[in-house]
Symmetry: C2
Subunit: 298 residues, 2 copies
Amino acid sequence: MSLLIVGSIALDNIETPFGKVDHSLGGSAIFTSMASKNFCKSSIVGIVGDDFPKKHFELLAKNGINTEDIKIIPGKTFQWSGKYNDLNKPETLDTQLNVFSNFDPLLSEKNKKCDYLFLGNIDPILQLKVLQQMNSPRITACDTMNFWISRSKEALLEVIKRVDILFINEEELRMLTNIRNIFKAVKKVKKLGPQLIVVKRGEYGSFAYTNDFIFFAPAFPVEEAVDPTGAGDSFAGGFMGYIAAARNFEESTIKNAMIFGTIAASFNVESFSVEKLKEIDMNDILERKELLEKSILF
Amino acid sequence: MSLLIVGSIALDNIETPFGKVDHSLGGSAIFTSMASKNFCKSSIVGIVGDDFPKKHFELLAKNGINTEDIKIIPGKTFQWSGKYNDLNKPETLDTQLNVFSNFDPLLSEKNKKCDYLFLGNIDPILQLKVLQQMNSPRITACDTMNFWISRSKEALLEVIKRVDILFINEEELRMLTNIRNIFKAVKKVKKLGPQLIVVKRGEYGSFAYTNDFIFFAPAFPVEEAVDPTGAGDSFAGGFMGYIAAARNFEESTIKNAMIFGTIAASFNVESFSVEKLKEIDMNDILERKELLEKSILF
């Protein structure tokens, strides 16, 4: 089953206590697709400028990621510049939307038929537009951020109402609900529509919340985190990739997807850009799965 | 098997967003003993002033907690006044050591023979003094705090070297090691001596670290947290109580102890003082254990 991923494609300038990169491949659609590559084929819908290096297209293609619906237009690719003083929260130094300000996701006939959809963190108006174009997806998911919660809440609530899965972090959950207690907040958001809420808690892991169960996944214990950029998108990639491969949405599938999302995020933070994600294979993933399971089960 | 608990006994003045109490029963030895009461008998070694209400002694006795070695001397009992603006970190408004400044833990012959020892957060010089009086305990554990790490590091390192279990939170772990990454930091502290390090992560739960395994326990999802005072001590109480009852220190015992510690802490935060801890029985504990296990296992 193939996974459709709609989101940003960026050339990032990032500085962390562990190094610095310029114009490195990034953006939500990139991290999500590269993290899902070990589980399923995917297609990206996005936009880049004519400065976007050809080698990046080659990398994606090599990993079973269809790039036909990445539009190339004259101009510069979206650029994000950020600095992490510790690894918890970036300081945005500069955001240059460039061609991304013209993003208007139009799906090909093939993409409309995808069974699984992940809407990365983009304007909820565009997320809605994608949802409206889909034929009859099995499972749809979205991510968002504080910016859209404050600037475009109405459209965002409409997106949340329509998707099966909402990926959200604790800060966003509190902002969306005005509720401080995270378990009360998630209960309220659950009533907005999605079958499943995945709450991301950074270095503390994540939990899944449905009407039937709650499931906690600790973060994989990483000793050499280098750059957390894209950790949430990578989590979503591992999660959605596994869901698409499993072809069902049962409790045990969701729990395993949480573990695979956790592992994808753990590899992601060990390098800048997608350096680590591009290297790993299923054996690397299963090795961490075994370790993680040992640290949970008793 | 009985558990010896050495620590503070206090009359707390606490304000949280959910209420306010004055002169309420608190202190590390109180929370730890009340949280262990469902698992084993315990003895407290501590000191109070002649203002300490008799009803508190009765409460402890009623719960199988031996108070013979709580010394009563003329003067006022230790008082801590704190305010929580949110539930994460208290602001200390006032600390009156009172008779606690004369605390000199002398163990009775009976207490020296206890198999299990918990040293609450007190001056490491006194913790050492207790360790030296013990005959041949099976398992010893200590807690500490930032104050002692900065003021009395040498004595604290000597305590850590001698105990089997160290309970420590993330901030203290970083302070003790000067290492930001929590998994690197715990590895370093492990080398200082203890068989087991229990890292407390507040609302995110805790993990156990030994040479053989790492085990993550999420916090029990509490929707109505009222006052976190004593959560760490209650965790230690549930943990040590179960260890003392199980009479072994195997991997599966430690993992179960983590769960029982987690559950004790969850009840503790649902009320001021020991109001909730004093009410619960083994059925309440096992009910939460079943829920918590469901949210971990898959």
